[in-house]
């Protein structure tokens, strides 16, 4: 019965879309709760795009409808997406910070005739779940693989990996191991620690005892990262010359004021640094800072949202405002543009974003603040995770 109703409503939407001159985009993300900062960044990126490119495409006015999903909750995510499609009649779904939430929505896309533009969720497999998914963020594999080369180039042969015991952590562990072993290095031990760990001293002692020359770490940003980096310094690992490697989630800009001195010199690889030096990024940072209010809160989800909006605008242009999900997705396959993070394109096959990955080092600016300074570029990186999954 439910299917029939959805199908019927979808038919009505399809019938009416041609006459509507307001195109609605439904954005689902964490706008309250512990991850509110990430949701705020989504909104800042979207607002910045609309401020810079206008709120109309052709004759159609764009309206963004936000739905709050404070913590990972696949059932609620699906319910919100259905509500957006059925009640609000959105033509596009976007946002999604967590992988399980994005996964839960993929089954309804075809029936609803709605493309899904993922602005953050970073597990490789999402794009395989439906041909109507396009991703403008990154994957953990994509950002964690280049750091393995960096570690090897720095003359480190033995590394111990320490990750939080959850999906992205395990992705990072596998990505680093694959990349590092390909370079000829050895991962001497792989430790998975519970997400709720507060005290990292015992872990640091174990890293020391392992005899590794470097440590690869992945933890969710926020309190755990701060505790980990502090413990790394306090337990004398830095002085002992054990090098620290991680994807850029660990040194995201909104955490840097708190990490401060402790993070100085840490090298990470990531797809975007707020400090990226280009005219596109300068314009973006200015607009997004205005949108978010406090520039110190700006970090990577904003650029995923900004480019997500770019993709949606291109989809609307290509379909002339008609609701045709497949045509919209086909139109952006192979699309390339210059994003605030550098040159990017949508891979026609995986529908995931191909982009530069940068090696950055946490550096102190002249005004005493800390930032990620880009020191090396790995050009046109695809998603190695998808190939590894096959």
């Amino acid at each position: 019965m439910k299917r029939v109703i959805i199908a019927a409503l979808a038919a009505i939407i399809m019938g009416s879309a041609a006459y509507a001159d307001t195109i609605k985009i439904g954005v689902v993300g964490p706008f309250s709760g512990p991850f509110a900062l990430q949701g705020k960044n989504f909104k800042a990126g979207i607002d910045a795009y609309m401020a810079m490119n206008g709120a109309t495409v052709g004759d159609d006015t764009i309206e963004v409808i936000y739905r709050d999903l404070p913590a990972p909750d696949p059932a609620q995510s699906k319910a919100l997406a259905q509500e957006l499609v059925v009640k609000e009649k959105v033509q596009y779904l976007a946002g999604f910070y967590f992988t399980p939430d994005a996964m839960a929505v993929t089954p309804i896309l075809k029936q609803a005739n709605v493309p899904l533009v993922i602005m953050n969720a970073a597990t490789s497999a999402i794009v395989t779940k439906s041909p109507l998914v396009v991703r403008t963020s990154f994957t953990t594999w994509q950002t964690s693989t280049p750091i393995a080369k960096v570690a090897h180039d720095a003359g480190v042969g033995k590394v111990i990996s320490v990750v939080s015991d959850y999906g992205p952590g395990i992705d990072a562990e596998n990505a680093f191991k694959a990349g590092f072993e390909k370079e000829g290095g050895a991962v001497v031990d792989a430790i998975r620690i519970p997400l709720s760990t507060n005290d990292f001293s015992p872990i640091m002692q174990r890293i020391k005892d392992s005899g590794a020359q470097g440590v690869f770490a992945f933890l969710p940003s926020g309190p755990t990262t701060l505790g980990f980096v502090k413990a790394y310094n306090e337990n004398g690992l830095k002085e002992a010359g054990i090098k620290f490697f991680a994807p850029g989630d660990l040194t995201q800009e909104s955490d840097l004021p708190a990490l401060g001195e402790a993070a100085l010199g840490i090298q990470t690889t990531f797809h975007y640094a707020v400090s990226h030096d280009s005219p596109e990024n300068k314009a973006f940072v200015e607009a997004a800072s205005k949108a978010i209010g406090n520039p110190a809160e700006l970090s990577f989800p904003s650029v995923g949202a900004f480019d997500g909006m770019n993709v949606i605008y291109k989809m609307i242009e290509a379909t002339g405002g008609e609701q045709d999900a497949q045509k919209a997705v086909d139109a952006v396959k192979g699309l390339s543009w210059v994003s605030p993070r550098g040159p990017v394109s949508i891979d026609p096959e995986s529908r995931h974003i191909t982009q530069n990955i940068y090696l950055r080092e946490v550096t102190k600016a002249d005004d005493g603040s800390y930032y990620n300074k880009e020191i090396q570029t790995f050009e046109k990186q695809g998603d190695p995770g998808l190939a590894a999954a096959k």
């Binding site: 709760g33 512990p34 005290d199 001293s201």
Partner: protein
């Protein structure tokens, strides 16, 4: 052997940090019989005040700690008079609902005023860096936390067991109407104990900030750990809480060092075992 000492040092330091934060909750739950789920929120307020005082007012660490403790107590006074006073002696469910509501309000206000980012409390130069213990190094602020924990434990034990105030407090807790009939001003006793408990929460929040960073969800994030410490130690017992912190800190640290992939399995297994054998906690008194 070296591994054993390493684990012991880490366990002791972690246990003492837990103790300083949780002991205020033990006082409210054991002596005042209030299930105060807003305890973490008061610890968080302390952390925010210290962070604000150190960063924005440029005060030193000692001044920031004092300001945090007294500032939090002052904030708690109207909350105690208007809200907590109504739930003394009320059923536990009422207390839980009231205090969890207060917690959510405080989280919302903290998020609005200070924003969702992490806040740090800069340490003075003497507490930064690490000390060499011969076989390994340990952060100086952890040694400081150990000393503070022991001092707090001693002072509280003395105040409750040896002073006239402690006698009146225990009398009011055991039988409020009889104590009142004998001339004890129970309202004042309660207000003072509440202020002390809140002050301890704030102190713990500041002292533990290196391990448990201050952010709006602090108030809920660590509440389970605090409650576990109190229930394992026995509500209201200072030696019990101390013992619980050391035992749990030890088990948690050992598990994390030797078998991190088991997560908190051993921690909660120990909690279940202890509660099965001592339903009122290690040093809990029968009511």
């Amino acid at each position: 052997m070296q591994t054993f000492f390493s684990i012991a040092v880490d366990a002791f330091a972690y246990g003492m940090v837990l103790f300083v934060i949780s002991i205020g909750l033990s006082v409210t739950m054991g002596l005042m019989r209030v299930v105060n789920l807003a305890h973490g929120a008061f610890a968080m307020i302390g952390g925010y005040i210290a962070s604000y005082a150190a960063h924005d007012l440029g005060l030193g660490y000692a001044a920031a700690v004092l300001l945090a403790v007294f500032g939090t107590v002052i904030i708690s006074v109207p909350i105690e008079r208007l809200l907590y006073r109504r739930i003394y002696g009320a059923p536990e469910l009422t207390q839980v609902l009231m205090t969890i509501g207060i917690t959510f309000c405080i989280i919302g206000i903290a998020n609005y005023v200070f924003g969702p980012t992490l806040k740090t409390i800069p340490l003075p130069a003497t507490l930064q860096g690490s000390a060499d213990l011969g076989f390994r190094s340990i952060a100086v602020h952890r040694l400081f936390a150990i000393v503070c924990g022991l001092a707090v434990a001693g002072a509280l034990w003395y105040a409750i067991e040896k002073t006239a105030f402690g006698v009146k407090l225990r009398a009011s807790v055991d039988n409020a109407s009889m104590a009142a009939a004998l001339g004890v001003r129970t309202e004042i006793i309660y207000a003072v104990s509440f202020a002390v408990a809140v002050g301890l929460a704030a102190f713990g929040g500041v002292l533990g900030a290196e391990l448990l960073p201050v952010e709006p969800y602090y108030a809920l994030r660590y509440m389970v750990t605090f409650l576990v410490v109190v229930s394992v130690g026995g509500a209201g017992s200072i030696p019990g809480a101390l013992l619980a912190c050391l035992v749990l800190g030890g088990i948690d640290t050992t598990g994390r060092y030797l078998m991190p992939e088991f997560g908190e399995f051993f921690f909660y297994l120990a909690v279940i075992a202890i509660i099965c054998v001592f339903p009122r906690g290690l040093a809990g008194r029968a009511r």
